[in-house]
Symmetry: C2
Subunit: 561 residues, 2 copies
């Protein structure tokens, strides 16, 4: 208690503003050293003045990225990025082959500009950003309205032409590109904002709007999008919803199932399903929109969306901390939930292998806590409405956490640049991983208390054959497991798979926390879902898309369809 | 600006604790008078010390209530509570009639105690708490496990015996009682808490747990349930989820579609659908659980649930304010979202007719702002992790709102008793309404800017024939419209309906914001949902329950089934 009092006294003697004083912008850097129960090196806590926007700036990463890479870079990446091999089905002969009459029909409804047959343009749409999945479509359609989407699907359904709906094409599991010769229906031409209710923060837009454009728009109105991801410069809101994108604001604003208020969807037979309500509450019948959130375009094409956007809060703080063991990381998460409660906006963790890698491979990246080596690092972000109160709250929380021995060392960003640097470490891990050679990437949901076990088990299994990194959204129980080796090697893959899926399944975890199943993991759904559930999914697929024209070979195993 | 400075100066001279000082519990009542731009009566702001739990105490109301009334009281209530007349279908002759072999079979799987034929006990389960809906079931089954529920449904499906699943039987639309002779399957015997993850706040329990018991349990662990409603002493968590209950924490924690992580559901044919994940993120296939959230037991029987519970925050403040016009209420909501952001936990509004009624009919209820008459009243609650900061934040917000002319007068509760009194006014409106004679109740979602128009239009339509009250969860765009007259009168009903539904439909509103459709509004779904959407709902119903044994005559119009 005496130590706590001493630490608190030092904290309260600080030259910065007190809670009762107005917040000072652009205040000078100040550094505080805290005493703590454990003998420890100096603890640095810097404050970052209120940021006009989250300090995550232009993100070049990440797990959720990535689409800004052009297809030209694909081959380079292809050599280095590996994971589960895609299941190679045979082309389903039930689908018709495209002919010139089809093209004529599409031109009659979309005009010449809406029907793309140019090889170079189609080539870009045929391949995912990683260059891992590549189809052989001969036709890219660019509808400008829901009615046009409806006419396309109605025709394709009658003609049994398979279709792949495409948004920003930024996915990681091969969900947004053709497998064979499916017609690509891009929503890029449907990019209008329809309305914004600036009392309730409800945005209604077409599905092809780029997330970053929507973010900019609502931020000018004093709101923020409830999701943010590295791919925001390319990904479409329709694609975000169709894949139930998670991303960096999940811990604070939760899932899109909670934030999407309404959808307009075109079904496989061309039926336009108007569920575009902007109401927060509506208990009239089954809430059908949820079927289309996360079904990866296999049940219908999302054409319009209504999203609840939270008020933009002006004060953001970012802290970079170290912990001696994984148990401390967990306890710190619990304490943060309790003490930072309503202002906590990110809780990301990395093991020291991640930091080492980022420092080795990324230009300008330094460990903000260089004094000694720690096993784990945690990035905490708070976002609130009042800078001085939030600041004091975070400071008090960190002080307590150090006294309790949960945190070994820590720094608080003092300006936007520092905050961006902290985020750069976390977000650079994926980029740095690719530079090693081959990277086997897994995106797992695992109960938090067991989340790091798989990293350690994998390290034991692989020994010197590979480097194993564990990091991710600890606050959401979402681990990103990256396994690095100098080159791709089947013997390493067989040591990883199916072990990683079996282990996750045994913990009742999810083999895809946020990336979806796409083509990559369609046949692996049984690791996370019961036979009865998969059967029901198949029945719903057959009900909504009896000719199975929408995004074939993906999401569900072929055996159940 | 000079006025603002003066007001702020007076505020800062107050004798209460400053933000930087530790919170003082049990502090004496203090009263502050604020200057403001408009000439106005004194402004009182009292503080309530940190509450250990929300000051909403035992609630005896409300829109969401009610179930503690016994069926014995039903006849008394029946005389006074009216709304849409239930649609009276004919008994569907496709259903079998119960025979002694059926009873023998149920006894063989449930034992004698699980099969209730006692007339008095069945009578209670046959009628809803309002006494408005009454069935003629001859059999009440009390399974103790998912397996037993599965056996019951499998048998009923084969025998074509209609079934009504029943939780706490606290609904307001006749969804939880038989219409004819359906077998009642009560989940009351499945009331065990299965596990609680106290790092992540994830509760797993059987569906028959009473909400209040779960609340008490998780509060002892430092968490709260993400929903709270007047009926919490009776309603079951399975029923809450099956009806997508809204309630008093909706503005803060959002819909159950965001808070329910997993479900176990038994389908009509007895298939047990295990979706009981406790993961925050899981993008493996279609998220089927959402089909069962809000489908009112017509697609399956929820047997187990996993719910995300937020950390319990210690500091609660309640303010009772008045506004001169509805536009000010809206602006105040917007300002509260922006300035109280992360600590705002309720924003309820009432017109002055509500207050007058509550004072007239409820013992001990007084207007906390008696100085003069205002047109509108708003109750604001904040909940946060740090009392002194939250307090200062609320105080500053109210000061600004008064200076901006949004708030005419206001009081802040100084202790739990005052806070409860404020809530008592809001929650007593429903109770007071019933005392007038007949009450026609509507639960509507309407875009906030138009929400009060229907109240005024209705007042014009009805003139002196009835008293029209408007109140509700303004933060969620949810209006409770109560129309009172001395006795039930068909001529009044025809002035109200279908006008109220047509008007709501024209605003793209919802004719049932949180109560559901049940029997009362099954035939009215078209006012809020498109023909295509209702058709798809019917297809899904047929897919999951081809013999239509689950909760017949409800949710969907008979014509589409």
């Amino acid at each position: 208690m005496a130590r706590r009092a001493a630490a608190a006294a030092r904290l309260l003697r600080r030259p910065g503003p007190l809670a009762a004083e107005p917040p000072v912008r652009g205040m000078p850097h100040t550094e505080y050293e805290f005493a703590s129960r454990t003998v420890n090196s100096c603890r640095r806590f810097h404050w970052i003045p209120s940021l006009q926007r989250p300090p995550c700036g232009p993100r070049t990463n990440v797990e959720t990225y990535e689409g800004q890479h052009s297809a030209n870079k694909a081959s380079e990446v292809q050599k280095r990025t590996f994971g589960s091999a895609a299941t190679h089905n045979q082309r389903n002969p039930a689908y018709s082959e495209l002919n010139s009459d089809d093209v004529c029909y599409f031109k009659s409804i979309l005009g010449d500009n809406g029907v793309v047959q140019d090889e170079d343009r189609i080539a870009v749409a045929n391949v995912d950003w990683m260059g891992k999945y590549k189809g052989a479509s001969q036709l890219l359609l660019l509808p400008k309205s829901t009615k046009e989407v409806s006419k396309i699907l109605s025709y394709c359904n009658t003609r049994r032409l398979a279709v792949v709906p495409q948004g920003g094409n930024t996915g990681l599991v091969g969900g947004s590109v053709p497998v064979y010769d499916e017609v690509i229906v891009s929503l890029a031409g449907m990019d209008k904002i329809i309305s914004f209710d600036n009392v309730n923060g409800i945005l209604t837009s077409e599905a092809g709007c780029v997330l970053e454009n929507l973010s900019t728009f609502v931020e000018n109105e004093g709101f923020i999008m409830p999701l943010d991801l590295g791919a925001k410069g390319s990904c479409h809101i329709g694609g975000n919803i169709s894949t139930n994108a998670g991303g960096l604001r999940f811990i604070r604003y939760g899932s899109l199932h909670g934030n999407v208020l309404g959808l307009e969807v075109v079904l496989a037979d061309g039926t336009i399903l108007d569920m575009l309500t902007t109401l927060r509450k509506d208990n009239t019948g089954y809430d059908l929109k949820h079927l289309f959130i996360g079904s990866e375009g296999s049940l219908g094409v999302v054409t319009k969306v209504a999203v609840l956007t939270p008020a933009k809060l002006p004060a953001t703080n970012v802290a970079f901390l170290s912990c001696n063991d994984y148990t401390s990381c967990q306890k710190l998460l619990l304490a943060a939930r309790r003490n930072l409660g309503e202002i906590l906006s990110a809780f990301e963790f990395m093991d020291h292998h991640c930091i080492d890698l980022a420092i080795r491979h990324l230009e300008g990246v330094q460990n903000p806590l260089p004094a000694s080596q720690y096993k784990f690092y945690v990035l905490i972000e708070t976002t609130g409405s009042d800078e001085s109160y939030d600041k004091t709250k975070l400071e008090a929380f960190l002080l307590r956490s150090m006294e309790d021995g949960l945190v070994s060392d820590g720094v608080i960003a003092q300006d936007i640049s520092q905050a961006s640097n902290f985020w750069r470490i976390r977000e650079g891990i994926s980029e740095a991983s690719v530079k090693v050679g081959a990277v086997y990437k897994y995106d797992l949901s695992i109960p938090v208390e067991k989340l790091y076990d798989i990293v350690e088990e994998m390290r034991c299994r692989l020994g010197d054959n590979a480097e194993v990194l564990g990091y991710g959204h600890l606050g959401d129980g979402n681990l990103h497991l990256n396994i690095l080796s100098s080159k791709y090697d089947d013997s390493i893959l067989t040591q990883i798979e199916p072990f990683v899926y079996e282990w996750t399944s045994a913990q009742r975890g999810s083999i895809s926390a946020e990336h979806g199943l796409g083509l990559m993991k369609a046949e692996k759904i049984h690791y996370s879902k019961s036979t009865e559930a998969v059967q029901l999914m198949a029945s719903i697929k057959k009900l909504l898309d009896p000719n199975s024209i929408l995004n074939p070979y993906k999401v569900l195993p072929q055996s159940v369809l």
